[in-house]
């Protein structure tokens, strides 16, 4: 279908047009980028509205699909497809992309055309990652999104940008190459069994592997995703890259690039290697809990505002990892919701940090204080995003973390309890940000102007979406219906005989008194989850 190609091509065309037009006028580059991303967003919404039923109708095709030959010698195809999981993450990409363009509006004044070329190329790469259903194409997009990101950090970043950019690139490239070897090995295993080359997701997912081969190949995939997510101890690139990147770069890094790691685990690792994933599930959940607590602890210890927010990402992405390996449908939904909500709330916090830095020329919390009096609107919105980030009910993050914990509790009480401690630690660092920056005495006599209309507009929209996810999650949950691995017609392809997952239907939880959260979904006319065979 041409629509899916258009969704991918629009940001690419936008990037080229912005680069061409930006030479004459910087604001043309900004407007073109904005229009292109808005068009992509609109196109996704139209597609969603048009093919909504496919998201829960058993046996229906992908929501959108495009399949064309690319390198026939190895059976590599240009295969793009969209299901509920891809849809939500692509929508998030466009939303945060628009936010990134808008927060750069007043910040980036040098080499504007080139900046928007790089920014939109990253976004195009991320969209391609979420849509690729050929593993080779997936790797291609995976590597390709790094290059413009590298330039975003290395050219427009802060003081220590070159170090951060090179470290980021080497970490992701090294782990990416391991994934490439794993993809090739998987394709060859299948070649030996069937005599034909294919890198298609559906073809490879049923590949039989004896125990250790499967484990090693899975570890190759996991290396790439664990660096991106990040999983402690592979996270050390993250604080540097996030801190040194320009605001838009931080928003894209935290909001989107980390999500590609989570997406990879949910889409590829778990379905393709069910047995191997089960073997290491305990270890991964342990690492997840360590990441949650360590990230929170490190966040509390920071004095650099952006670095602090960066470490909260380590903590929050721990919940995604926990949810992914909890082997439970509720936790799976929770992990996806957490990815969306974290993208918005942390993206917004990075935007705030960028706005503060643009005004005060420092990110050092020790040099701030009492900013509420001089910028009350910024203070108020910051509190709102901090509250979302630490898991206040009613906002998006809470729903994600709650579902993850609930699902994990069924698998392992110990992990669930210790992960829940992370939510308490989050309140401590969250309050620290608000107190140090906005409350207390303004000892240095800082004065800064409050949010500009453009800035407050961006933040208010992001807040509204967070409230939307938190209060009425049914569209999100509904869109994920066929992406749930235990669903019999799941678009997350399953190896034969690997459907042993605990099928916790939303309707079960309704009976347990969670109807305000899940009610609208369960009563949807289109499907009744309890009826599926």
């Amino acid at each position: 279908l041409a629509v899916i190609l258009a969704i991918l091509l629009i940001p690419i065309l936008g990037a080229l047009l912005a680069a061409a037009a930006g030479r004459a006028s910087p604001s043309a580059a900004r407007w073109i980028s904005l229009v292109a991303l808005a068009a992509g967003f609109g196109l996704c919404l139209v597609a969603w509205a048009g093919h909504r039923a496919r998201l829960w109708t058993p046996g229906a095709a992908w929501m959108l699909e495009l399949d064309a030959a690319w390198i026939p010698a190895l059976g590599i195809r240009f295969h793009l497809a969209m299901d509920g999981l891809s849809l939500l993450l692509v929508l998030l990409t466009f939303v945060l992309g628009i936010a990134a363009v808008l927060v750069s509006w007043h910040e980036i004044h040098q080499r504007v055309a080139l900046f928007h070329l790089a920014l939109l190329s990253v976004l195009a790469g991320i969209v391609a990652v979420f849509l690729a259903m050929d593993l080779f194409l997936f790797y291609f997009a995976w590597e390709l999104m790094l290059v413009p990101m590298y330039f975003l950090i290395a050219i427009w970043g802060h003081e220590n940008r070159r170090y951060a950019a090179i470290k980021f690139f080497i970490f992701t490239q090294a782990s990416g190459l391991l994934m490439l070897v794993a993809i090739l090995a998987l394709a060859f295993v299948r070649y030996r069994q069937t005599g034909a080359f294919s890198f298609d997701y559906r073809d490879l997912v049923g590949t039989r592997m004896d125990g250790n081969a499967g484990l090693w190949i899975m570890l190759g995939f996991l290396a790439a995703f664990a660096v991106k997510l990040p999983v402690v101890p592979l996270h050390t690139w993250l604080p540097d890259a996030h801190t040194e990147a320009p605001t838009a770069g931080s928003v894209v890094l935290a909001g989107l690039l980390l999500k590609t790691g989570g997406y990879g685990i949910l889409r590829f690792v778990l379905p393709m290697f069910p047995e191997a994933a089960a073997r290491i599930a305990g270890l991964m959940m342990l690492l997840a809990v360590i990441g949650i607590l360590y990230g929170a602890f490190m966040a509390f210890a920071q004095t650099d505002l952006k670095r602090l927010v960066a470490y909260t990402s380590v903590s929050h992405m721990g919940f995604v990892l926990l949810g992914a390996f909890a082997h439970d449908d509720l936790a799976f939904r929770g992990a996806v919701v957490q990815m969306l909500a974290h993208g918005l709330s942390t993206g917004a916090l990075f935007a705030v940090a960028g706005m503060v830095q643009m005004r005060l020329h420092t990110r050092d919390l020790a040099r701030m204080g009492g900013l509420w009096a001089t910028a009350p609107l910024m203070g108020g919105l910051t509190v709102a995003f901090v509250m979302s980030s630490v898991g206040l009910p009613g906002l998006g993050d809470f729903l994600g973390e709650f579902l993850v914990l609930l699902g994990t509790y069924r698998t392992s009480i110990g992990f669930a309890v210790s992960a829940a401690l992370g939510m308490i630690a989050a309140i401590v660092y969250g309050l620290k940000v608000v107190q140090r920056a906005f409350h207390g005495p303004n000892v240095l006599g800082l004065h800064m102007h409050d949010l500009l209309p453009l800035e407050s507009g961006v933040l208010l929209v992001m807040l509204a979406v967070l409230f939307g996810i938190g209060l009425r999650p049914s569209p999100v949950i509904e869109a994920l219906q066929r992406a749930i691995p235990s669903d019999p017609s799941s678009t997350i392809a399953q190896a034969p005989g690997a459907r042993a997952r605990k099928s916790n239907r939303i309707s079960d939880t309704v009976d347990h008194g969670l109807s305000p959260l899940a009610g609208p979904t369960a009563s949807h006319a289109g499907y009744e989850p309890g009826e599926t065979p």
């Binding site: 950019a165 090179i166 490239q173 190459l177």
Partner: protein, 476 residues
């Protein structure tokens, strides 16, 4: 056997004939433009001759020494195309030299003739002849600016070391002759199948010392950075591509013919050389400040990557090696083309500092160099990525896990020094930048290399098919 196949020998005859014509033209009238023009015309005529034979050509022996088959057509074509690019790049660079410049083109053609003989040879005599024609021309090309101390030193160093390597090679060949009584490549396998002669293995190992030197594999790599630094930029490009490529293509043929005898032993030997080259090349490059030296170590590492595919053996491995070699040619030529455009015979743009802020002054040139460096690093959209993919595929298919994992680790290390050059190019500009020059020919060459780089990186199907056909002629 037809002793002299006229049609099959057309490309080699044209190449040799052009060398003589250019030499005579210099005697009649010393003109830089004339010499360069005749060279380009001769190379184009050679390509036309090759096209007449076609990649699917069945093996046609030219005397017992040489065979023109699809593989040779592909190999000679690749080498001639590379020479063509170098000739086009050299013109404006050489124009800046105030001595006699026309002989450079004679040497260039002569070296290419030697390289072409290597690719087509099936016999130790032609192997050695081709190698010496190539090497002797290179001595003079490297030391072409006798008043520049580094250039002269590099030429002398290459002369001494190449002579030593050649003697190892000869000794190895002598042992093989003693064991088999024949100088044909197939002879080794034929004798081995009857009775495994104990002298064969030492002979082959000694030969590998000579070959390892030419390919600059670790531990025979010491000369490489000095020669790349000292040689004129276009000559360094020639050493990195045509000279190494010819030996490697010869090795593909030799290997294919001698494989029944030596398969397992050579696999271990090549695997070890590959691992050492990848690690040492990338690690030593980290310490360099000089772009030409970085490219030298990078080429050591790249030959290591190539051997990963090569040691896997079989048609797929040979195809992967040929594909990688083509991608490597395009990338290295492109990288050296940028260096050449920024250099003059009196001042080479070789320090990283010379590239500071290049992007803000010459965005096109810096963008091209970025693409070439990303290709060397193996990032998608470039031919270098597809090449590395094929090498990894061949290595994975053969389950040679140690070389494959070392490749992954080494190329991650290697990223660092490529990124250092890229970072410098996008840093704020300084004043002390050489003006980029470049006549039409150089720009056409660089533009073509860039287009080919992206084309093979995005849609490699055509090249894969061509390589597949050419390799199939070996296995027929």
């Amino acid at each position: 056997v037809n002793l002299f196949d006229a049609r099959a020998s057309v490309p080699l005859l044209i190449l040799g004939g052009t060398t003589v014509v250019v030499m005579l033209a210099i005697v009649v009238r010393r003109s830089h433009a004339l010499a360069a023009g005749l060279t380009v015309a001769g190379l184009l005529a050679t390509l036309a001759g090759l096209a007449g034979l076609g990649l699917a050509a069945s093996p046609r022996p030219i005397t017992p020494l040489l065979t023109m088959d699809g593989f040779a057509v592909f190999g000679v074509g690749l080498l001639v195309l590379a020479t063509l690019a170098i000739a086009m790049l050299s013109f404006q660079y050489m124009a800046g030299y105030d001595g006699w410049r026309e002989e450079y083109y004679v040497l260039l053609l002569l070296a290419t003739l030697g390289a072409a003989v290597l690719v087509a040879s099936t016999h130790f005599a032609s192997f050695f002849l081709g190698l010496e024609i190539l090497s002797v021309s290179l001595y003079a090309m490297i030391a072409f600016f006798p008043r520049r101390r580094l250039s002269l030193e590099a030429g002398l160093k290459y002369l001494v070391l190449a002579a030593a390597a050649a003697s190892f090679l000869l000794f190895g060949m002598a042992l093989l002759y003693a064991a088999t009584g024949t100088l044909r490549f197939e002879g080794i396998a034929e004798v081995w199948q009857v009775a495994p002669e104990p002298l064969i293995l030492p002979g082959v190992v000694l030969m590998f010392v000579g070959i390892g030197f030419k390919l600059a594999l670790v531990p025979f790599h010491m000369w490489t950075p000095d020669i790349y630094q000292g040689a004129p930029a276009p000559v360094a490009a020639y050493v990195a591509t045509v000279s190494k490529g010819a030996i490697l293509l010869l090795l593909v043929r030799f290997f294919h013919l001698a494989e029944p005898a030596l398969g397992p032993t050579l696999r271990v030997l090549l695997g070890a050389l590959a691992v050492a080259s990848m690690l040492v090349g990338n690690l030593l490059a980290l310490l360099q400040q000089n772009v030409k030296r970085i490219l030298a170590y990078s080429s050591i590492a790249h030959l290591g990557y190539l051997l990963v595919a090569f040691q896997a053996q079989g048609p797929m491995a040979a195809s992967a090696a040929a594909f990688f070699l083509t991608a490597y040619f395009v990338t290295m030529l492109g990288a050296f083309a940028v260096v050449t455009l920024l250099s003059t015979p009196t001042h080479e743009a070789e320090m990283i500092a010379d590239y500071r802020g290049l992007f803000w002054r010459h965005p096109g040139l810096a963008g091209t160099f970025t693409l070439m460096l990303l290709s060397l690093a193996g990032i998608p959209l470039t031919a270098g990525f597809m090449g590395k993919l094929w090498v990894l595929a061949a290595g994975t298919f053969a389950a040679s896990w140690v070389p494959v994992i070392v490749l992954v680790a080494a190329s991650s290390v290697g990223l660092y020094y490529y990124l250092r050059i890229i970072v410098a190019m996008y840093a704020p500009a300084t004043d002390q930048l050489n003006p980029a020059r470049g006549d039409v020919g150089a720009r056409i060459a660089l533009g073509a290399l860039t287009i080919v780089l992206v084309w093979f990186g995005v849609y490699p199907g055509k090249l894969l098919a061509a390589v597949g056909i050419a390799m199939a002629s070996l296995w027929r």
